[in-house]
């Protein structure tokens, strides 16, 4: 493990609590729901309202999409951010959205409540330094090829620039297994907790790539000690522009939100 300084559990007396709107990540369960990509204003507003009613306390949605092929849909950009803003106004949910270019960090921060660094950009050090300079919490996804040590050192890059509000996100690593899209590595949840003071959430949608596995892996994540979940929810999954096989309906998400809250409550009790 490359030596950590600011991210290390030893560097401060208490675990970091990241406040986003009313939500205190680390103190209460963060439930981030929303579509993979922002598509239309109606989609975002409708999904946001339904996600909120179903139990979400934050809204996700990508305006910039890093895609394997240059010919795939790359996101709506600024227009997408404006739809997110409207969805926030309609639902009251704070916004989590990805930024992929260091030149965009400043102005995207005006729309985002949390800046997401995606798995492909985990070691985009220029980008990490930029998000380290702004006054917004950062959701740092683990690279799909990344060791725990490398991941935590990327958090260190952000902290070292002066931004203390980093939330880690386990989203699965690349292995030989093909039944799941990635291999969700839940051991990282307690591992992160024993090394750092930062909160960690889990993304079972990308981690498994299969709708049927999301509910049990949400329960497992919270039982492992996760501080929250980020889940793909779409008001009309069949028409989603990307990741339609893993997007849940708001109704499906509602069941999950109820169940994980019970698991979270039990874990709090056990921890006493």
């Amino acid at each position: 493990m490359k030596k950590l300084q600011l991210a290390s559990l030893n560097s401060q007396n208490e675990r970091t609590i990241v406040k986003v709107g009313d939500v205190e990540i680390g103190n209460e369960l963060a439930l981030i729901a929303g579509p993979c990509s922002v598509e239309t204003e109606e989609q975002m507003i409708d999904t946001a309202i339904k996600a909120k009613a179903a139990g979400a306390n934050m809204l996700r949605g990508g305006a910039f999409k890093p895609r394997t092929s240059p010919y795939d849909f790359q996101g709506l950009g600024l227009k997408g951010l404006k739809y997110l803003e409207k969805a926030k106004q309609a639902s009251g949910l704070p916004i989590v959205t990805e930024v992929i270019d260091p030149r965009d960090v400043c102005w995207v921060s005006e729309y985002a409540d949390v800046l997401q660094i995606g798995a492909r950009n985990m070691q985009n050090f220029s980008l990490l330094k930029e998000v380290g300079k702004v006054n917004k919490p950062v959701l740092l996804k683990r690279g799909m090829y990344s060791t725990l040590s490398e991941w935590l050192n990327c958090a260190e890059y952000i902290l070292a620039e002066g931004n203390p509000n980093v939330i880690l996100c386990e989203r699965g690593i690349r292995t030989f297994e093909t039944y799941t899209r990635n291999t969700l590595d839940l051991s990282m949840v307690p591992a992160v907790k024993e090394i750092t003071h930062l909160p960690i959430i889990v993304d079972p949608s990308h981690g498994t790539g299969r709708k049927s596995l999301i509910a049990p892996m949400c329960n497992a994540s919270v039982a492992a000690g996760a501080d929250g979940l980020i889940v793909e929810v779409h008001n009309n999954p069949c028409e989603a522009l990307c990741d339609k096989d893993q997007a849940l309906t708001p109704e499906e998400f509602e069941v999950i939100a109820k169940d994980v809250s019970r698991v979270y409550a039990l874990m709090k009790e056990i921890a006493k």
Copy 2:
């Protein structure tokens, strides 16, 4: 996925319940505890009595140890099985023990209540066929390099020989991550359940290789839907001949057993 027949969920109306002594794996939580390897009579009897008191309902212990080097301790063989027998008499716990050679299956079955196929032997098809012919449940560990499809087809090898009592065991796969000994792949728990009717348990001791991660991963396994756990417990971990970094004391195991029972109870309630 290579086509399954007997292991497929579609092949029978109900999920398989494997009875071992009084325990109905699939209906109640299986808690298998014990040392990596059988070392002495005292060690086994003492560990068994304490594991039982701590909440275990089955005893594990290896008399044959597949080891990387030919010069490492290879297990006590028949003598080890006799110690297991005494531990069973003293504690009442049924015995789970590994068999590694097709020529040994017949006589090892006289001591074992469950025959374990280790990760390295998952695709030892001669061995699978032999354990398929005896009248003892088989605990089939996933190979550390094995896809879900390959693993389930190994269960099919056993079922095809006439033995319906197969228990699957996720124990971690080999990846690039080095913080943990293996990468425990908990998505396999619900994946196994949606494809087959067989029960599945989890081995967080080998799956993580770190004492500190075992408790949270036990909770996570059960929350993901696992039917049981197999955990390394030693009456004196400091003197364990192998895997001492991951062996728990009976006292540590007792706390885990209580907590996972609460998680299991909650999951039963949620499933209603």
Copy 3:
């Protein structure tokens, strides 16, 4: 690296030369050709005669096939060995064939000139001990999940039983890449040579799983220092019962055999 004794380069003054019929593996290029599985007498005799004419100096063919599914073709067994015997008589080529059960080692040795341990059985320690007791060279394939250290320790198991004639075979490891069937790890060729005194050959047929990649990877293997190649050649690839996508015709193999011999000659010159 788990400490080696007999396999270690330091354990003897000279590199091991394994003699098989007239071929001195380690001194001259071993070219082992033949089908994945023995299917018919005609197939074997015809392939053997053509492979010999094309440049092969040893014949491969599987009578026992470890297969993922119990319902797939498992090989002809004894009948297959008898066909191999006839092919040997017709062509003069010594026979390389796999053994998968410790109970079969003794009698299979009567037909085989080299006993092959397949990738799935690399850590089948009972089998390793049995082939360590017979007076036949052993071709030890690397497990698809196996580190160099584990692989060489399996050679140590065989040597420790008294059989000094072990030939290592790199055949690709399992990774996330899907374009090739496995990832052929040619760095292992010089790595094996710097650690042990044993000869090493390469299997680019299983290593790549693609006909079009076999010729360049044969050249690369020999340029990396390999002592030989094992290549799937079938007298009628379209009708092969397994691995038809990677089987070469004798004509295709002939071109490869010529080219690699030139590369081998150049490497000998460079090494002077």
Copy 4:
């Protein structure tokens, strides 16, 4: 394989030849040598002159170093580029140097003859688009977690912006094997050639991380069909600021350069 357009072999009649100074990559063997990072003016000039004398036809050296920890040496930046310029003047060798931030592409291009995209930035799409807009060849390293399909689509990103001069570079992928730093995947050399018209070189220094393995893997790379090699050479490896275990002396490189030239010549003859 995600559908390629401009990178596809079918998109043009002839293989792409990338001209860098006098070197025609694709027509003659590219031998790129130099240190991991630019450290001092003397180091660069001395290494460049010696590398040229030893057979190199291009010079590498990093002024921007993506490092795991924010507290590790990050490169000299502009000062490093000026040292590279002096080394170029002294030796006549064209310069290959990495760029890691889209904002730097424009001005770094004034110093670089070839812009390198490192493994960690392979899917930094903003950076790819920027290097696609400048009039300099791009050396695109494969990400250590990247499939062939993803890699070639990154080349497509650059081509789609109008820059036709992309050179691919295999540098090893991340696997479970720990003897080597990465697993050099030489099958990608012929795989790239059968799918695209772009030239491909190999980096055995990062691919193996071991000095002793570099020479054989250079020979193997060229035998597999590679159009060139990029090798770490330092005038004083013991004092190298990074990667000292894999840096060669100019004398060691000279032997390699001679040998690979002979292998290259043989492969040209065989290809006729």
